[in-house]
């Protein structure tokens, strides 16, 4: 027992020392004079090493003037990063530059935690339209990002050949809903346990992201253009029709509702609706030949694909706006955009960067390039986006399990409109 006592005294002492160290460190932070300190937050992930490199290069070039420090915040598989931002916002401890997923721009801008960056971005005309659109709230630019993303239809070349199906090679020939449905039906083989299509039923942001184009392509929408009302949009006839179409896939068992994480890669599904990053993963499976084709379009509507990736904004607590702009532009130079895009084979968000990547002009990556440059559509811009995304995601899950489409979407509209009202 004496041991325990000694141990705890030692512990008590060490605790004291540690907290003392902590305060010392804080004192140092303001240390060197004349140098502007900038902090950045980015979600921890594959991109972290590339960002680390870019920031240290920035610090070298601005030695004695600006010193930037980037912190990578774990994101978990849901909203841990956003929760962290919320906690920081509520206690005024936000960093100077803040990365955010595209649809959060409106939410953050409206709450006043990020500031407009109009006129701060160099060579703004080089950025692809969808990035600028995504970063704009009430006619002011709040955020830009170095990379884009999209969702396309990945397929197992051999399985499609065996079924006698030729997937479209050009944007003009992209499958319509019916063609996609027919292909999925033909490829499904219940005896062998093979599904026509695989799509992930993630609980986070994914659902609104991957189903969005089906809705937009049909002329539907999620919310009024100015973000003021969801009723009549998210539950409007065109949106309902789009989800009824997707529901036929789950109703008829063309999609597995409980797939393994590698169902498509293991040859248990013939096609997969997935983000552009899937291409990098398929490289782990070199024995199978993979292809990519366009996101299917509504028979009456236009070709649309989803877009949006993480973007950078300047927080309202950033004091030195010029230094922040300098750093923002440094991240988005053509060279750095190329460097960041290369990490996960992501489409770059600058067209001059795109022009340098010959691989993206060839099959199958040209499909992704076409979508980013020609058919990209950002997710809705509304201050109530978190409610919309969450409630819509839950509703779509119910719909896939056989729920009534109109009824489920009516509930979403009601929840979102309550939230909009609360914020006024």
């Amino acid at each position: 027992m004496k041991k325990l006592l000694v141990l705890s005294t030692a512990a008590m002492l060490s605790l004291g020392t540690l907290s003392a160290c902590g305060s010392d460190k804080n004192a140092d932070a303001g240390g060197s004079e004349g140098e502007t300190k900038l902090t950045l937050w980015y979600p921890e992930g594959d991109m972290s090493p590339a960002y680390k490199e870019i920031i240290s290069q920035f610090n070298q070039e601005h030695d004695g003037e600006i010193e930037a420090e980037i912190e990578f915040i774990p994101r978990g598989n849901k909203y841990a990063y956003e929760d962290k931002v919320s906690a920081a916002a509520t206690s005024n401890t936000l960093p100077d530059l803040l990365a955010m997923d595209g649809p959060n721009v409106a939410n953050y801008a409206d709450a006043g935690i990020i500031q407009p960056i109009d006129g701060m971005v160099k060579e703004q005309d080089q950025f692809v339209d969808s990035v600028i659109k995504q970063g704009t709230f009430q006619d002011k630019l709040y955020a830009v990002g170095p990379t884009e993303s999209t969702v396309a239809l990945f397929y197992n070349v051999k399985m499609l050949e065996e079924a006698g199906i030729t997937p479209p090679k050009t944007l003009e020939e992209a499958w319509t809903w019916n063609e996609f449905y027919d292909a999925a039906k033909k490829l499904t083989n219940k005896e062998k346990g093979i599904y026509g299509v695989n799509w992930t039923l993630d609980y986070g942001e994914w659902i609104i992201y991957f189903t969005g184009p089906t809705v937009w392509s049909n002329g539907g929408s999620f919310i009024a253009e100015d973000g003021s009302k969801a009723d009549g949009h998210v539950n409007g006839p065109k949106t309902v029709e789009a989800l009824e179409y997707l529901q036929t896939f789950t109703k008829e068992g063309l999609v597995n509702l409980q797939p393994t994480p590698t169902e498509f890669e293991d040859g248990k599904a013939a096609m997969m609706l997935m983000g552009s990053w899937e291409w990098a993963k398929l490289k782990d499976y070199p024995d199978t030949e993979w292809g990519i084709t366009y996101y299917p379009k509504s028979p009456t509507g236009e070709q649309v694909s989803p877009s949006g990736d993480w973007a950078w904004g300047v927080s309202t607590s950033a004091e030195d706006k010029e230094a922040a702009a300098e750093l923002l532009n440094f991240i988005h130079t053509k060279e750095n955009v190329l460097k960041l895009a290369a990490v996960e084979d992501k489409p770059p968000a600058r067209s001059d960067a795109f022009a340098e990547l010959a691989e993206w002009d060839k099959e199958p990556l040209n499909v992704l390039k076409d979508q980013v440059l020609k058919t990209a559509h950002p997710r809705p811009s509304t201050t109530s986006y978190p409610v919309l995304s969450t409630k819509y995601g839950q509703a779509v899950q119910n719909i896939f399990l056989g729920g009534d489409v109109q009824e489920e979407l009516d509930k979403v509209a009601k929840e979102v409109d309550t939230d909009i009202e609360r914020k006024q």
Binding site: L15, G22, S48, P49, P74, A80, D83, S91, T262
Partner: protein, 281 residues
């Protein structure tokens, strides 16, 4: 002779029951370890019995985790071990003393305090996250160890647990100590503590386990790489668009080891019937 055979059969039946039932409980842990030793492409290929059988064993996943340039696994592990051990050590002292005071050294208001403490256990942590963050931020503890430790030392659950067990300690024991001239502190230290080893062990294990898996709070208060805990530190594995399940399983296997060790360590304090021998002596 007959009695002995009967006992033997009884023991065999008990052992079999423990092992059979035990498998149902430990299966996920086994699966996790087996999966962590497989190449990525094999993990979900067959989810039947094959999922529990090693195939093409490799340590690649472990090497990736331990020597990653993305994360300093050893350092995160140390941070977790340090902060959780502090919670356990201080917690055992502070909470057991408080429970002892409330049960055995009744003072004015002690009954009321007990009710408040039980009521506090009701509060779900999720509802306190933001207010607690504001309090801790006022102390200037963000990104410092005390934020991970100090708020969790006093625990309503542990005080309640100790109280319940201290109630069961026979009065005669304390009276005997008192007659020997011991003061309340000595009574606590020499009579109550030695006679309550199982409950101290239980409190230690349960506290360690529940804080070892903490994720949300450490994430919010400890962004800085230098004090990041292991549960937060391995989150990068879940974030990538292309999740590598083998590495996840390897990391989770490694983080489970300390908990199992703590459990085994405290097990030896589960000894039978000290209370009664104490009475006799």
């Amino acid at each position: 002779m007959r009695h002995q055979t009967k006992q033997k059969i009884g023991k065999t039946v008990t052992t079999l029951a423990i092992l059979l039932l035990g498998f149902l409980f430990i299966a996920p842990l086994l699966w996790m370890i087996v999966a962590s030793l497989k190449p990525e492409t094999l993990i979900f290929k067959d989810m039947g019995i094959a999922a529990f059988l090693p195939k093409d064993m490799t340590l690649d996943n472990y090497i990736q985790i331990l020597f990653s340039d993305r994360a300093n696994f050893f350092h995160y592990m140390w941070n977790s071990l340090f902060s959780v051990s502090m919670i356990v050590i201080f917690g055992l002292i502070v909470n057991s003393l408080c429970a002892y005071a409330l049960v055995k050294l009744k003072f004015p208001g002690s009954d009321f305090i007990l009710i408040v403490i039980i009521a506090l256990y009701v509060v779900p942590f999720e509802s306190m996250l933001i207010p607690l963050y504001i309090v801790v931020n006022n102390f200037g503890w963000i990104n410092e160890y005390p934020a991970l430790i100090v708020p969790f030392i006093a625990s309503a659950f542990n005080i309640f647990l100790f109280r319940q067990f201290f109630m069961g300690i026979p009065k005669e024991l304390e009276e005997a100590a008192m007659l020997d001239g011991a003061n309340p502190w000595q009574t606590f230290w020499k009579v109550v503590v030695p006679n309550s080893k199982p409950v101290f062990a239980t409190a230690a294990i349960l506290t360690f386990v529940s804080h070892w898996s903490d994720f949300m709070w450490p994430l919010i208060v400890a962004t800085d790489e230098s004090i990041r805990t292991v549960q937060v530190g391995i989150q990068y594995l879940f974030t990538d668009n292309n999740i590598e399940y083998g590495q996840i399983m390897a990391a989770l296997s490694l983080t489970t080891i300390p908990v199992i060790l703590i459990f085994v360590f405290f097990q030896r304090y589960y000894v039978q019937g000290i209370t009664s021998s104490g009475v006799k002596g």
